[in-house]
Amino acid sequence: MRILVAMSGGVDSSVVAARLLEEGHEVVGATLQLYDSRGAAKKGACCAGQDIRDARAVADLLGFPHYVIDAERRFKDSVIERFADAYASGETPVPCVACNQGVKFTDLLGLAREIGADAMATGHYVRRVEGPDGAELHRPCDEDRDQSWFLFATTRDQLEFLRFPLGDMPDKAAVRKEAERFGLVVAGKPDSQDLCFVSDGSYVDLVEKMHPEMAGPGEIVDQQGQIVGQHEGVMRFTVGQSKRLGNAARLNGERQMVVGVEPGRRRVIIGPREKSFVTALSVRDVNWLVDAPPEGLVCRVQMRAREEPRAARVVPTPDGAMVYLEEPAMPAPGQACVFYQGTRILGGGFIRRMEETVPA
């Protein structure tokens, strides 16, 4: 069948293209240009100018058509600006989810359908399993490279159309070996990492440039508004964090942590670590990959990119879902809360700020 392969120019998606071609499919390569490649692109991050050339070189070597898709403006609007705005509203966003959800799985996937492709494949480490009720999304075999958390917003309709051929790979070494077998120049290329669109400096500089009101030092206050310390910039703080609090890290013999961020006033609010944990949280923009039972379901939830899932009960609400944790935890607003059952993703949503959380 005709398969559009989203190629970043890295090893993973190059191997995907090579494998599908070997399997006899009609492969069409596409690389998204997400930002001006003439700028200083960060080494090791995906989608820069060199990466487009690499993707094209792979396509030329293997002999399938390859296209560069201009998605700069969409990426700026739907990923970078939303990323900065989320910080400005006191959240800790996950731009990779927004990118997968919008630019990749809506726009590029739409283009794939438009050119008459039967499927779209990516180099994501996640497994797609044909289940009795349609396609299911699972964690990959290689736990170290698990990207399932970043893909929770994939809709069922998108999932039907998508393919993730690397989900079964045991580890990265195996992928590199495949790349060598196909003679791909990208076999030894470093992995992409961090935020692809942050070219130099850090995401802190980027956000502060877009929201100057957030730049500069400010106060650390306790929940009563009492000033208990100073900080260098609100951007460096996320709810749940204990680091970078200086002398305020311990107050009245109690370990403190960040319980809120007020970017407009450049204030970081802290509270005693143990007492601030919650057992209920509200999530918005929920994507269900199963038919959610109205009474809710028992599962495990993962609230950060790298952490052990926790036991919880998730109950759908008209505007999202309520998540009831077995053990208290400190969810960070803006991060994803993804519902798992075993290796399977059942759904997920974005964590609301506490003040927006209305317990069911």
Partner: protein
């Protein structure tokens, strides 16, 4: 493969191929004094005479360059000192970005058909004492639309302006006389006439050799106006291609019109249809269908056309030409079909079949930009 992208580059004409190969076998450098050099020099001057004759300038007012971009930029930099630049909004990037950095630039608006607005041109010419350097292309590369060049010449004369035309798409396709047209300078390119890539020419009206400040001086070739060893094989090919193109003209309008007829029936809009255009070119927009997707779909069917102007990264850029014509969203939904000199009826039939199928398929709701 069906190749309908002549305005990007024409297929090599057999006469050009022959001249190219013959010149490639000549060892001499045209600047050398020995017999090998003389032979090369003779071939170079023969090519110069040919081009000068067909386009009607004095032979020494034909300056060979590496291509159309260099010819345009050489005119702008080498003839435009001390002048204000009046540049059409639908010019090729070679010209849009060709003015010297410190130069004053006034952009000339076009109407919905892509023709320069004469009243605006006159306004711009009259608005300042500083003499003007006007840049307008004879035929647009995306739409094929021709400016009313006779009227433009009259206005430029009236205000003492220099008129430079980019004739990259016109030379070889329409008969041209630089001397009689009143154009002051004209740029053309070999591979757009069916010659090899790598050579172009700047032609100047009036007594020869006209003075042009070189962009790079080098060894003083081309009467000190363009340094660097001339690419003789490409130049010989250019001259042969120009001759062949003008001696054996082919009216591609019937084939082009048959494409437009079908496209319009399939829901397409044709740009510039109401004004004089090149016979081989059509710009077709399908409302709601991104140019990128159209291009990919046709390419996967083995059909080569283009959209906007090809950017070096290979992405489909937004069409500044159609935008200047007020096309709005359609500027991101248009394809350019340009028939080459050797197009066949079967080629056109295959295009029509593929295009119709594409036009009838549902467009996805995606929003990948490039369509802005």
């Amino acid at each position: 493969m069906v190749y309908l992208d002549a305005n990007a580059t024409e297929p090599l004409r057999p006469q050009a191929r022959e001249a190219l190969l013959e010149a490639a076998d000549l060892t001499g450098n045209p600047s050398s004094v020995h017999r090998a050099g003389r032979k090369a020099r003779a071939l170079l001057e023969q090519a110069r005479n040919t081009v000068a004759r067909y386009l009607d300038v004095a032979p020494l007012n034909c300056i060979f360059t590496s291509g159309g971009t260099e010819a345009n930029v050489l005119a702008m930099r080498g003839l435009g000192q001390g002048r204000r630049f009046l540049i059409g909004r639908t010019e090729h990037d070679a010209v849009r970005k060709g003015a010297p950095e410190d130069a004053q630039v006034v952009w000339l608006d076009v109407d919905a058909n892509g023709q320069v607005q004469l009243d605006k041109l006159e306004q711009a010419l009259a608005q300042d004492e500083t003499p003007a350097f006007v840049c307008l292309m004879l035929a647009n590369n995306e739409t094929g639309v021709l400016h009313p060049i006779d009227d433009v010449v009259l206005l430029c004369r009236k205000y003492g302006a220099h008129l430079h035309v980019d004739a990259v798409q016109t030379a070889g396709r329409l008969p041209l006389s630089v001397e009689q047209s009143g154009i002051d300078s004209l740029a053309c390119s070999g591979h757009k006439m069916g010659g090899p890539k790598g050579a172009g020419a700047l032609l100047l009206r009036g007594p020869a050799p006209a003075r042009v400040l070189p962009i790079f001086e080098g060894g003083g070739q081309e009467q000190g106006r363009r340094g660097g060893t001339p690419p003789l094989p490409a130049i010989a090919g250019l001259a042969a291609a120009l001759g062949a193109a003008l001696e054996q003209p082919r009216d591609l309008a019937p084939l082009r019109n048959s494409i437009e007829q079908v496209a319009v029936a399939a829901g397409a809009k044709v740009f510039g249809a109401d004004v004089p255009r090149l016979n081989n070119t059509t710009s077709l927009a399908l409302p709601g269908k991104r140019a990128q997707a159209q291009l990919m779909r046709l390419d996967l069917d083995g059909i080569c056309v283009s959209a906007g102007s090809a950017c070096s990264s290979g992405k489909v850029a937004f069409s500044h030409v159609l935008k200047a014509m007020g096309a709005g969203d359609l500027a991101g939904q248009a394809l350019r079909v340009s028939l080459p000199w050797n197009v066949t009826e079967q080629d056109v039939a295959r295009f029509i079949e593929s295009y119709t199928r594409m036009a009838q398929s549902p467009a996805a709701i995606g929003l990948v930009d490039s369509v802005v």
